[in-house]
Symmetry: C2
Subunit: 237 residues, 2 copies
């Protein structure tokens, strides 16, 4: 059943009011009719609803709350050195599908781009669409751009902090995941140019573990999908 | 070290002649000079070479054969219902990076596109670039478009044939991979609209096993990346 993420302002007693692009989606893409059913998702709660008014806004009446949890059993934060716009959007879309909880763009030494204002809105639109399509219970959060030192200061929030770096000393991510008993994982991926040696040193000195992602050299936009696929497979069912 | 895939016509004794786009890459992108080193890859063999002539073609002298194997220990064939051009290219690029051996586009009931002539050249260009970038030893093969019955006839070539289908009866791909002792795996992914019920029946009746890829619903272009990430992680090091 098609699902739509809503916020609390859209609920009034047992009536949900749907506005903006979702109206277009319901009327034109899905071609729904009165009495058709949808799932409205808010704060990890799922409500099965029936359409009772299809006009410039759509109104739906809540039939019942349903229990269905498709989320992973761990919260995964993917942090990534700033990369080009299309790549960022691609990564955000795919890791949303694969169940990530947070995405943090990090301004790093070898990042060749800077994010301009307003991108977060665009990213949130991609996340909403991908979450509805993949049947998630929660929306992934995207944070503002921070730098590496600011990221390192966030370390206490996580049970495990890893960074994926191509290096002779291969230490597969698998090992850390197999032994993981906590809830919150942070994994940092470099920008196109990779990590600067001073950044590697800083991370190692602050309790981040360096992991490899196999023998083949993955592009920076492929690495988060690889990580999330493995974690989804391990913590998803 | 930068690698370039070559064919046997480009080797004459210990001299390799590089032509076409690779010349542009060596001269303009990499800005290489005489005596700089490259790796030439042919038929799973790697040769370290030194540039001895940089003109309208580039000539390189073989210094030594080197042993380095980044390939997975299994041969993975990804078959996929025909999808839109950009998605096909994206999938081909990423599964090449992740170590797939073959890609078979399959004309299925719910495929909304048909592949026109000449696309295979474009795909092979993408594969060569992705293979050089990810340090593969072999080029992935792309086959011509076939239909589902033709694919099923190829079953004897494989030790295990799976298809990834969203279904109530969840049977994680993990289980099959953990017990896999063979060499050649075929995994079929549906087109955007998924499998037609008659196709599911046909596959099941012909010894294909139905597997799930986690609780979340993955897009058809994400599914091959998920599968290849898990296999790369399991059979890559």
């Amino acid at each position: 059943m098609q699902r739509y993420f809503i916020n609390e302002n859209q609920i009034n007693n047992d009536i949900i009011t749907i506005t903006n692009e979702d109206v277009h989606h319901i009327k034109t893409v899905m071609r729904m009719r009165l009495d058709d059913k949808i799932i409205a998702v808010m704060d990890n709660k799922l409500f099965q609803c029936q359409l009772i008014n299809i006009g410039s806004v759509v109104e739906a009446k809540i039939i019942e709350e349903i229990s269905e949890n498709n989320e992973l059993s761990v919260n995964v934060t993917i942090a990534q050195g700033l990369v080009r716009r299309e790549k960022t959007e691609e990564v955000i879309r795919r890791i949303t599908e694969l169940g990530a909880s947070n995405y943090i763009p990090v301004d790093m030494k070898r990042s060749v781009v800077k994010v301009k204002e307003g991108k977060v809105d665009r990213w949130n639109k991609i996340i909403k669409e991908a979450s509805e399509q993949s049947h998630r219970n929660r929306l992934m959060n995207v944070s503002d751009v921070i730098n590496l030192k600011e990221l390192i200061k966030e370390k206490p929030k996580y049970d495990l902090c890893l960074f994926a770096h191509v290096d002779q000393n291969k230490n597969p991510i698998e090992g850390y995941l197999n032994e993981f008993l906590g809830k919150n994982i942070l994994i940092l991926v470099g920008p196109e140019g990779g990590f600067d040696p001073t950044e590697v040193k800083l991370l190692l000195n602050n309790g981040f573990f360096m992991v490899s992602l196999g023998n083949l050299i993955l592009r920076t936009e492929t690495a988060p999908l690889y990580i999330m696929s493995i974690i989804n497979n391990k913590f998803g069912e």
